[in-house]
Amino acid sequence: MRFFLYTTIIFYLLGFFVVIIHHLTKNNLIEKLSRASLVLGLASHTILLIIRTYETGHAPMANMYETLLFYSWSTVLVSVIVIFRYNERLTELITIPVAMLAMTFANANEKPGAPLTLILNTRWFETHVISSFAGYALFTLAFSGAVLYLVYPSPALTPTLSQRARERGASGEGEFLEKKNFQDIANRSILWGFFFFSVSMFSGAVWAYLAWGMYWLWEPKVIWSFIVWFYYAGAMHAYYVREWRGKGLAIATVIGFFVVLFTYLGVSLLMRSSHSF
């Protein structure tokens, strides 16, 4: 287990630094090397989760250690999809460190696996948790897109960049499109994340009804999940308000990530709830 955990972190770390070198050198071979590192890291991460599943006899999502491993795996998976489908190599500069932080935190909180209690031994458990972490991973990608949108220089407003573009014989359109890409990644990841999070809320409600006879509980985790859902519902609609579409929505997306982090980790660690680990 530990071997694969460390191997995964090393490959992610390597991929992260190599992609930085690629951005500095624009060398294609180095770019391919960073892809390979991430893919090998993801493969090692997948083996780690498979071993855990084999050892415990259930999906690896039943305690803080397992969910941190699963969250980081989901985050890297969406990052790899972005890399291979869109050739986009900047969002991972944020998502991969977030995933590595989660893995480091997991390493510090390692717990031996245990069989599932009867209440968790249902398909609703996997449906609820997988969709929830798919949502969290996509909200992390949205956070990355929003941060890049905020820090990426706007060609129209940055004379030096426009000048650089002119020097390269370009009109600055490339920079504009790249910045627009970050906005799209942020907004569409929210749309995807909201879809998965809605599935998670729905499956959680049905499961709670089947297990306890109520689909809503007056307790912090449920209330914070409701907060996340409404927060991103508001963010999706803010896209249609022209004056909020750009910077305002990007800032809201960044804040949203911290709301998600608090819902996942803060509530579980600081507040007593039915989801405490």
Binding site: Y86, I119, N121, R188, L191, S198, E219, F226, A233, R272
Partner: protein
């Protein structure tokens, strides 16, 4: 009227209400965190009748819920007006079907919300109903329906952890047996909208084994038996925390079973004598009417604790939530390139 309609059809209002709902809920989560006992209690009841009867007198605890309900009500009006507006436009201009997808999400949300409202107004919750093995218990709110706990099957792993748990039960309606089924964890027994859940189980004494002279008698509480010499013994009242006052009259110091005692009534030759036997542990003795009576053992029986709830809103919540997620799916995959994180710009 037009101004009000326009006000409620605004997307800006949607965003502002979402922000206010988030802020109010964050405030509420802190109140819930600091008062878990109170809010755990609210989980066991139907919300709105309680809120307007008792919650209104405890506004420092419940004000955020009143604000939340008001904000969600405004949000629902906002969603409704927006949806009606857009649907009118879709139908009037014969827009393609894909323009309808976001409104499937909106309608689903409104239906789920309606389900929450129905569930918060009607139905009932009985969180703790102990049922002894073989006992028939009627539902407090629907007395014509009752349930009997027939048997129980628990399979344990090598480590002693339950791996399977089944409660066999029989349902009765108007005294007639209508259904035999089992209740499992995550699988309640459902009948006419009433759901029967397993909450807990254990064993409890259903009677005692007495040694009187050379004879042993097993008797359930509130039952009688006769000895060889013709004397009749009846198990009467039980005092949970037995003590005698200055007049030698028995009384209970508390309602907890700290020192339970069983009243035993002995009848022989038309004469009756009463006495008390402490039944907190086997071996305790008493003498009544010349009979030396000793508690030899207990007759144990299984019981389950059931939760019996009825929530008429659940079906609407399921329909609404399904519509919401299906609408989101259609929106992602069948409305332009929304599933693509970066759209093609050709």
């Amino acid at each position: 009227m037009k101004t009000i309609w326009r006000f409620f059809s605004s997307v800006t209002l949607t965003v502002i209400l979402a922000i206010l709902i988030v802020i109010d809920s964050i405030w509420g989560s802190l109140i819930v965190k600091n008062n878990p006992e109170i809010y755990r209690g609210i989980d066991q009841i139907i919300l709105l009748p309680w809120l307007f009867k008792y919650g209104i007198k405890n506004l420092q605890m419940t004000l955020w819920i009143f604000i939340l309900i008001s904000l969600i009500f405004l949000f629902a009006i906002n969603v409704f007006v927006c949806t009606v507006d857009k649907l009118y436009s879709i139908l009037k201009n014969k827009l393609p079907i894909r323009t309808f997808f976001p409104h499937i999400v909106h309608i689903g949300f409104l239906i789920a919300l309606f389900g929450h409202l129905v569930g918060s107004l009607y139905g009932f919750r009985n969180p703790v109903i102990p049922v002894m093995k073989g006992e028939v218990v009627s539902i407090l709110q629907q007395k014509n329906i009752s349930i009997r706990f027939d048997d129980m099957d628990v399979k344990l792993s090598k480590t002693g952890m339950p791996t399977e748990l089944k409660i066999m039960a029989t349902l009765f309606e108007n005294g007639k047996e209508i259904l035999m089924d089992n209740i499992q964890i995550n699988r309640p027994l459902l009948y006419k909208g009433i759901a029967f859940y397993y909450a807990d189980h254990s064993e409890t004494p259903a009677g005692i084994v007495l040694k009187i002279g050379d004879e042993r008698f097993s008797a359930k509480f509130n039952s009688s038996f006769t000895a060889k010499d013709g004397a009749s013994f009846k198990l009467g009242a039980i005092i949970p925390d037995f003590a005698m006052d200055e007049k030698d009259s028995p009384y209970s110091r508390s309602n907890e079973f700290r020192n339970p005692a069983q009243e035993i009534i002995v009848s022989r030759d038309g004469k009756t004598a009463k006495g008390w036997l402490v039944i907190s542990r086997p071996g305790s003795k008493t003498t009544i009417d010349g009979y030396d009576i000793e508690l030899a053992d207990y007759i144990m029986t299984q019981y389950v604790v059931m939760t019996i709830n009825k929530d008429p809103g659940i079906i609407w919540i399921i329909i609404g939530s399904l519509m919401l997620t299906i609408g989101m799916f259609l929106l992602l995959f069948f409305r332009g390139e929304r599933a693509e994180l970066i759209p093609s710009r050709s």
